[in-house]
Symmetry: C2
Subunit: 271 residues, 2 copies
Amino acid sequence: MSVRHFVGDAVVAATPDFDRGLAYGDGLFETMRAHRGDVHWWPAHWRRLQRGAHALGIVLPDEDRARGEARDLLDGAEAVLKLIVTRGNGGRGYAPPEPATPHWILSRHDVPPATPADGLTLRWCRTRLALQPALAGLKHCNRLEQVLARAEWRDADTHEGLMLSTEGDAVSATSANLFVLHDGRWTTPAIDRCGVAGVCREWAIGALGAREARLAVTEVEAADAVFLCNAVRGILPVARLGACSWRPHPQVAQLQRRLAAEHPAFATEVA
Amino acid sequence: MSVRHFVGDAVVAATPDFDRGLAYGDGLFETMRAHRGDVHWWPAHWRRLQRGAHALGIVLPDEDRARGEARDLLDGAEAVLKLIVTRGNGGRGYAPPEPATPHWILSRHDVPPATPADGLTLRWCRTRLALQPALAGLKHCNRLEQVLARAEWRDADTHEGLMLSTEGDAVSATSANLFVLHDGRWTTPAIDRCGVAGVCREWAIGALGAREARLAVTEVEAADAVFLCNAVRGILPVARLGACSWRPHPQVAQLQRRLAAEHPAFATEVA
């Protein structure tokens, strides 16, 4: 892992004292898959970052500078690139400083291990997602719900956990979006009240013509096929969820091949 | 302002890279009033920190060490002391590292200006508090709701904003708890679904025999008296809220005198 910190245009050595990201989770982040030192989905990640910045009133760094620094840090690698942008420094108290200069952090991480060939094993999480339309969809840095949910299991044989909203509908995995197939039609949970507008989710909605809707637990368990997706790992077929199991489904395999054809980082992972 | 960072027992220069407080708001904080270099309510603050640490699975530093460092930093001052404790460093991903060594930060800040003599002017905030029983009551570092609410106004004549839950009941100000009087009985909103278990709130509940209950907007507006409270500023009478106004109430003045008698930091502020 390597990391670089910036405040506005300036390189700094570390997180400044009184950074509001640390104090309040007052920031946004993107986790991106890099291939040969470049981020194929950079434009989609930056668009989501812009939507979050607009909603929270956070100033973004210059995009060209950020992308240039990212390429320099990646240095041609296959890697995961993380970008955090916080509102910057403030004194004590919630009032956002005006003007604020963002603190932004680029870090390079290893590509995670490949998905099990037969698909993921999931569980249901007890920790639920609160309904907060003001933050729904954003990839902000208030992630205690996901932290608590991910802390519910430690066995390496469980790959992910599905989270319900506090009203009981299925929303997403702790770090991936959810798609289910019924009678030839794909559905992914709506993210207007909680959940994250995943970059791979957006791609998959377009590729599948999927609808966005509230999704009951029973609709997940009765699905003909289930997959998770995120921008780091692509399309992840689900094999097991509690007592339910699914065999590999040709539509999921087809979507993986389509992603591999469109996004070079995923080309090597499909048979 | 001055600040000191620690990781476990060790002094460090700054926030470590990959601190989970910065990445996810995965931490807790306390904001305390110090008088002559000591924190009168330290035991209550530490108890709340322990409750939060238990709920989130965060390891706390040694209490005696933390209090000793706090006294050293305060150096006899009248000040506000802030303590942040994060889960510590982690790699990428929500899974909490095991074992984790906490990062803790002590900082000293100026005492805020005195309250207006005739009471605070409040407004209602548009940003609402989501219902999340798993985090309710805790003073954790996921505070985007408060940041968004506090960003709703900038005029210096508005001192605080009241927040509703997403279901529409009145919960608290952005950085203070709320008490209302009806027919001789004090009520403060229940914090089992959202809101923070304030240290001064706990003291005031005991002092007043106040009940904890859901509170409608109309119950706030129709109250005989209203005050806010927090551990930094004590008891704050409310004079105005939108079109409503209240004259100074003898029970609020009496509570201020009682706090001044019990907590030396507030003794100088009461006539």
